[in-house]
Amino acid sequence: MPTAYVEVYEEEFERLEQALRRLRYDSNAKAVFLIDKNGQQIAAVGDVEEFDTTSLASLTAGNVAATDGLAKLIGEREFSVLFHEGQRDHIHISIVARRAILLVIFDERSSLGLVRLRVKRASAEMDEIFEDMNRKENRGPGGQVETSPFSEITDEDIDSLFGD
């Protein structure tokens, strides 16, 4: 079985959010999202309440997955950047650390060139954070193997979710 869990701990979450905030500020973007390749939102900054963020994450992951499929069909490893141009708002999508998707939504207050430049810088920073996350995932949050908070889930806990 492949690794079945992606885990984000407080420290890395804050570092990621900080990197996103800086990217948003530097690129003059409306909103910036970090999304897991399977379609789960990891973090978001900016005017996020304007958007249905859950759907955005899922459709972005679908878009990236379909484009990856296209790349493989023509013998490319991946298309590392996607850009969708609208009349008012535009979307810049790129892959970070091979496992996450960076989505930047911007309008005429910014430009594709600026977004590309700032994304490149932010990606390098996020690569490092993801590397630290990988190390932690292998060791547990305290730098040593810890018991999962979920090991004590009872049947009652599960049943209560469904109102049984």
Binding site: M1, Y5, V6, E10, G39, I42, T54, S55, S58, G62
Partner: protein
Amino acid sequence: MTFINYAAKEINCKIVYYGPGLGGKTTNLQHIYNKTAPDRRGKMISLATEADRTLFFDFLPLDLGSIRGFTTRFHLYTVPGQVFYDASRKLILKGVDGVVFVADSQTDRMEANVESIRNLELNLQDHGFDLLDIPYALQFNKRDLPNIMPVDEMYRMLNYKREPTFAGIAPQGVGVFETLKSVAKQILVELRKK
């Protein structure tokens, strides 16, 4: 791939509805959407053709409340059932935590059911999963139609590993939540073993 965010205290899991074309996967999701309180569900997205056939996927996020202080969300996806959409089906299985197989009970669809389970098995293998290990539930849908195969015969033909199996009439909601609950519980039990 269960996504656990310790900072936001969230668990997100992915369930994929699989099965042959026109078997009722989208109808299962529609019923869940219609019967879930608006504050517990997100928007349902259907990427469908003009003739309302699933083109890429349907997506429905559900918020089931919290478990051990963690908000528990399930993201439900359907795959396009038509045979020639195999590349899309494979993509949607990426990072799956549990699968619901929606089988069509009509006798003349048995071959399509068998073929689709085989396809599921292979596509899971491509992602490094084994159908024998993954949380899995089976639904015999369309029990209200004429020309259907008896449940015990379908069970012998389609049940893969003694997975929980439910009779369903998706447009009326029969068996829909039972199937969902079954696979969701299996996923959470897996989480406990983590």
